[in-house]
């Protein structure tokens, strides 16, 4: 497909680069790239690849735009809060470059649909926020022989690499197994500097364009680390792991598996033991007003406590409770009536279990956390 006069004008700054030129721009215009997630990383990746003229851009996301996304997800805006992210992306991109084709998948990426979706693309770009999807994406790319542009962010740090099992290592060569659930915070728990998404996402978009052009030294076999606070880039040399279960000499994985199970994530089903540990927010309010010997413990992080709190709650972050050192528990005693709460009720359930194991007998976890408190008890407590 030759460039038309409008395209020559639009892409002139690319055409002037000897490494791109007319031929390279035609390759870009014929390329098919799938972006997994249209969030923090997917936003700059999608915007720049659209501007660069990537012929077909696929976006897979099942989420809806939320106000709290706008701090970093520059694909979306106030006018699309509440809309499907893939629709918001499609509309935004139509304004940037109406000549490219945008394919949207408003669904969760699963072992059942991944191969079928990936097979139509030349390059897959990882902008996911969870380990099951990350391993699923890696495995599907290895099985299909597609290059994967990997990126990940947390707080002030980012990671970027390119995995192409035909030419170098894959994600499993680095991390054969996922971390135990809960050990690595995600962005919702750990926070993220919004602009970090642009740094990491634009590096990923750069690598995707280099793969399309076949130019430069890509990050295949290299791992970039970026620390925004220290303003430092570091690089590590990677090697293919001959024992890698999917791209090694004797692979044991020949098809996609159940990644939720692989990552130790049990589908959220209320077990009777969990329900027995929980207490309704209204009952907690009554107890707070009743006083005497009752302690409400907030197990969130200090930064979350500063955003909002329930009056009368004492802060003891979950990590501190899990260390099981009675000296760090703000003087609560085994005879106190204790209710723990967090943001949504997941961490507090862990805290309640840890306290029980330490011998605290009268412990409950407030169901739904401070979010439910905000909904039903005190709307002046903001949600974040």
């Amino acid at each position: 497909m030759a460039l038309n006069p409008e395209q020559i004008n639009r892409y002139s700054r690319h055409l002037l680069l000897p490494e791109v030129g007319v031929e390279g721009q035609e390759q870009i215009c014929n390329a098919r790239v799938l972006v997994i997630g249209t969030g923090g990383l997917g936003s700059p990746i999608g915007l720049y690849l659209a501007a660069a003229g990537v012929g077909t851009l696929g976006f897979i996301d099942f989420d809806v735009v939320d106000l709290s996304n706008l701090q970093r997800q520059v694909m979306h805006g106030e006018s699309t809060v509440g809309h499907l992210k893939v629709d918001s992306a499609k509309n935004r991109i139509a304004d940037i470059n109406s000549s490219i084709e945008v394919v949207t998948y408003n669904e969760r990426l699963t072992a059942a649909n991944a191969m079928d979706i990936f097979k139509d693309y030349d390059i897959i770009i990882d902008g996911t926020d969870n380990f099951p999807t990350r391993y699923l994406t890696n495995d599907a790319c290895v099985l299909l022989g597609k290059p994967l542009v990997y990126g990940s962010i947390l707080r002030f740090e980012g990671q970027v690499s390119v995995f192409d099992a035909a030419r170098g290592p894959c994600y499993r060569c680095l991390y054969p197994e996922p971390p135990p659930p809960g050990l690595v915070p995600n962005c919702a728990e750990g926070g993220v500097l919004g602009v970090l998404c642009a740094t990491v996402g634009s590096l990923q978009a750069t690598e995707a364009l280099k793969l399309i052009l076949g130019k430069g030294d890509t990050l295949i076999g290299r791992f970039m680390l970026f620390d925004a606070l220290g303003m430092k880039f570091r690089e590590m040399k990677l090697r293919k792991d001959e024992n890698c279960p999917i791209c090694g000499d004797n692979p044991t994985i020949s098809e996609l598996v159940d990644y939720e199970q692989f990552c130790g994530i049990v589908p959220h089903e209320e077990s009777p033991e969990d329900s027995a540990l929980e207490i309704d927010a209204q009952l907690v309010k009554d107890k707070l007003e009743g006083g005497n010997g009752f302690r409400l413990i907030d197990v969130r992080e200090p930064s979350e406590y500063q955003i909002c709190k329930i009056e009368g709650a004492t802060l003891i972050p979950l990590g501190l409770i899990q260390e099981k050192n009675p000296a760090h528990l703000e003087g609560i005693t085994k005879n106190d009536e204790i209710v723990v709460h967090c943001k949504a009720g997941v961490r507090s359930l862990k805290a309640a279990k840890a306290l029980k194991e330490m011998g605290f007998t009268n412990v409950k976890s407030m169901r739904g956390g401070i979010e439910e408190w905000s909904d039903r008890i005190d709307p002046s407590v903001p949600k974040y």
Partner: protein, 84 residues
Amino acid sequence: MTRLLYFASLRALAGKSEESLELGGETTVRALGERIGKTSPKLGEMILGKKVMVSVNQDVATLDTPVRDGDEVAFLPPFSGGAI
């Protein structure tokens, strides 16, 4: 002296972002992991369980990679973030 660097969430587990250790001769990443585990059990467990990526002098390492005085050993956990 061997310089150890901890990244991201490992800083909290180690209680520091870097430290220098006197090895007293050549050792391995595995032995280093065992030694770290004595002061930071969770971190030691993650290193020995291959849940973190280890590099020696900016080159990815296995548990059997030798570590000598003057080397720089970095520990990097997986990140989950991206879309959120």
